[in-house]
Subunit: 82 residues, 2 copies
């Protein structure tokens, strides 16, 4: 299992409820890909979302987000953390 | 206190020890600005670093990183998380 950060753009003005709904959509299907989305942080001013996850590959993370309706291609594997 | 994610580029090939040293440099001076860097994640392949912090403002976060020798202007305030 590896750790990943993915980044979304365009979430300007999104509310806490809307972010929670998007996160729930990931959680509902993530098991199919062996992924788990641990946390998501939103800056509603810039529209950036950062999602921290664990899973087998970047592609698996991307597939969950795509199936959940919020695709991104910006995914980074994070082998090092402090 | 607000929460922030900042992003650095150019850390290609950086090691765990080097990331820890950079993080320690932040921790050593962050108190001057009322900032605390909670966590940093590195993708040594792309060179991206993501730092999660709390503090009074984006500018305070930027000042700590600049004084510690690894400036960035890419800082996002994160009022919403799940």
């Amino acid at each position: 299992m590896a750790k990943f950060m993915d980044v979304h753009e365009g979430f300007v003005g999104v509310t806490a409820e809307q972010l929670a709904a998007a996160h729930e959509a990931d959680l509902a299907i993530e098991g199919e890909e062996g992924v788990h989305f641990e946390r998501a942080w939103l800056d509603p001013e810039s529209g950036k979302v950062f999602c921290l996850s664990t899973g087998p590959s970047k592609e698996a993370v991307m597939r969950v987000h795509e199936k959940a309706g919020h695709p991104t291609t910006e995914v980074y594997e994070l082998p090092i953390e402090v």
